[in-house]
Amino acid sequence: MSVNRRKFLKIAGASALIGLTGTITIEELLKSNAEASVTPGPDALTAKRWGMVIDVNKIKTKEDYEKIIHACHSIHNVPDIGNTKDEVKWIWEEEYENTFPGVSDEFIPDGIKHKPFLALCNHCANPPCVRVCPTKATFKRPDGIVAMDYHRCIGCRFCMAACPFGARSFNWRDPRPFIKEENKEFPTRMKGVVEKCTFCSERLARGLQPACVEKSNGALVFGDLDNPNSDVRKALSANYAIRRKPEIGTAPSVYYIIGGNEHA
């Protein structure tokens, strides 16, 4: 069978059309997916820039810390592998001088010097981890949350090298055997991908505060940094608060009140 010019054009035109519509359909699909993942539900908490204020003095006992950390790690299926090499953690305790290297002064009250501080992802306004990711697997949402797509991450760990806060963990091995009680409502991760705190974006979407905030007895305050009437802004205007490594320009969204007063 010979293909004449007319026939060829017909086939070419049809293929082009299929090609075009095919592309459009895929684009539409991608678009609706992307929108769905950030479209707030009816009860969702929304903000222009989510932030957190940690009033260090309000977390007193070891149990207080454990309660906060456990709340996060249990609902997010964070494995407890039991060694520091393979460790995965989203929120944890660090001493003052380790949390604020270069800022820690020689003569400060012992109560602060050896007090554990909570460390977590700072959800920087200018996040270097997002800048370096070669696949957009980590990205900044319009509400300021630095999120992760575990299905796109290729595990190059460039984000871990770039994060100035040591907030990111890599799944050096299959984490699933190390999850004590799996929360079926939150995905588990597989080996070979990076993960970190999400500011409980999945809870915000359902109108809930982050798990750590909920269990903190008011020591952790969460809200919109762009809204002067939000709880976080009120806490920040009533107290002197510091951020980790502000000098390198990543603009962290997590603040620490060191010598907090009763109004906070």
Binding site: K85, C153, C156, K191
Partner: protein
């Protein structure tokens, strides 16, 4: 021309079989890593890049060094490099192949590697690195193959290849600059956050690559009838000398900035690498071996009398290569992670599996190099018997 790699002496085939055996062991080790995860390596939450990424970084330099032959030959008409330019280009091909493999085995989810292409992200330096490395591999493949084919026929290379040759010059600089940018633009990693990083990378590249090339030239002369030429080797020796001085000078600048400013964050990684920090000193002996080898090599290289003696030159080149391999293929990457973001020290040492995979990839590189050199040498031996063509 490939058929030329299929005939060889007993020694040639023994070498090939040894390489294949090591590659086999490396491959089995990789399957184990693929199954278990990267936790099988010595890397950790704190030192999240290790041997693989540092080998990659070092080998980008070796690859880029081909330009040290291309510039004198094609831009300055330095005829003595005519016969060995191909060796530089083929070394670049082998080195880039290893670079790509080292990146691949470092991925936690290697099956998703195409995401870099599917979701191109120009703000990520790693995206650009993937682009320039593959581009460089492509350029060297077509330039090397085309010029060698022309050579075999005894005709000058076609004109269309010229733009590719000229393009390979800035491209070689780009691969190592982009690789340096992987490190030099990260806030919070004091050891890497330095404007001279790319310059230092190029300095060390133009020393380590030509040093390896000199050693390869000696080897080629020993195992074949092809003589790269005494003058060509000596000219390369001068390049190694200048580049090694530039590299040591740039490293010295880093020391000055860190220790004269006395900024703790800048000093800590250097203290860790060369003296040990908080009682951790695993890399100290290695870094001093690197330092001593660098000094010894410079003493030999800077003195024309010793540099001209081929045995001394070979020794100096081996010293340069090992010194820079330790400095860049180990210390540079690990030093960036120590101390960690909380000023705690976590040490790193590669695991056995990691070592075997690394060895496997080096063997793949040497296999590629052997086959390509075999072809180039066969062509050279053939054309050497033609009296008046060159």
């Amino acid at each position: 021309m490939l058929e030329k790699a299929l005939t060889g002496s007993k020694g040639y085939w023994t070498w090939i079989i040894i390489l294949l055996a090591i590659i086999g062991v490396g491959f089995i080790s990789y399957l184990r890593q693929f199954d278990y995860g990267l936790g099988i390596t010595g890397m950790s939450r704190d030192v999240s890049w290790g041997f693989y990424i540092s080998q990659f970084t070092f080998l980008v330099g070796v690859a880029a060094s081909a330009v040290m032959l291309v510039i004198p030959y094609y831009l300055h008409d330095f005829k003595k490099f005519g016969k060995i330019v191909i060796l530089g280009e083929f070394l670049a091909i082998a080195a880039v192949t290893m670079c790509i493999l080292f990146i691949f085995v470092d991925l936690g989810q290697p099956a998703r590697v195409m995401n870099v292409i599917l979701h191109p992200t120009p703000n990520s330096i790693l995206f650009w690195d993937a682009m320039v490395l593959n581009g460089y591999l492509f350029i060297n493949l077509i330039v090397g193959w085309t010029t060698l084919t022309a050579d075999r026929k005894g005709v000058p290379p076609p004109n269309w290849i010229k733009p590719f040759i000229y393009l390979s010059i800035p491209w070689a600089v780009s691969i190592h600059t982009v690789t340096a940018f992987l490190y030099a633009g990260l806030p919070g990693r004091h050891f890497w956050l330095t404007a001279v990083m790319a310059a230092r990378f190029l300095g060390s590249a133009f020393a380590s690559g030509p040093a390896l090339l000199i050693l390869l030239c000696f080897l080629v002369r020993k195992v074949s009838k092809f003589d790269p030429g005494k003058d060509a080797i000596q000219a390369l020796g001068k390049i190694v000398t200048y580049a090694m001085f530039a590299n040591v000078f740039l490293l010295g600048l880093e020391f000055f900035t860190a220790f004269y400013s006395q900024i703790p964050g800048h000093m800590h990684p250097f203290v860790y690498l060369y003296a040990g920090l908080d009682g951790y000193s695993k890399l100290v002996p290695l870094m001093w071996i690197s330092t001593i080898l660098a000094i010894v090599s410079l003493i030999i290289l800077v003195n024309p009398n010793t540099r001209r003696k081929e045995k001394m030159l070979a020794f100096a080149c081996a010293a340069v290569f090992i010194s820079l391999w330790i400095d860049k293929g180990f210390g540079l990457v690990v030093g960036g992670f120590v101390p960690n973001m909380f000023e705690r020290v976590t040490e790193y040492w590669p695991s056995l599996t990691e070592g075997l995979i690394t060895l496997g990839i080096w063997s793949i590189g040497f296999l590629v190099l052997t086959v390509l050199y075999k072809i180039a040498i066969a062509v050279r031996e053939q054309t050497a018997s033609w009296p008046e063509l060159h």
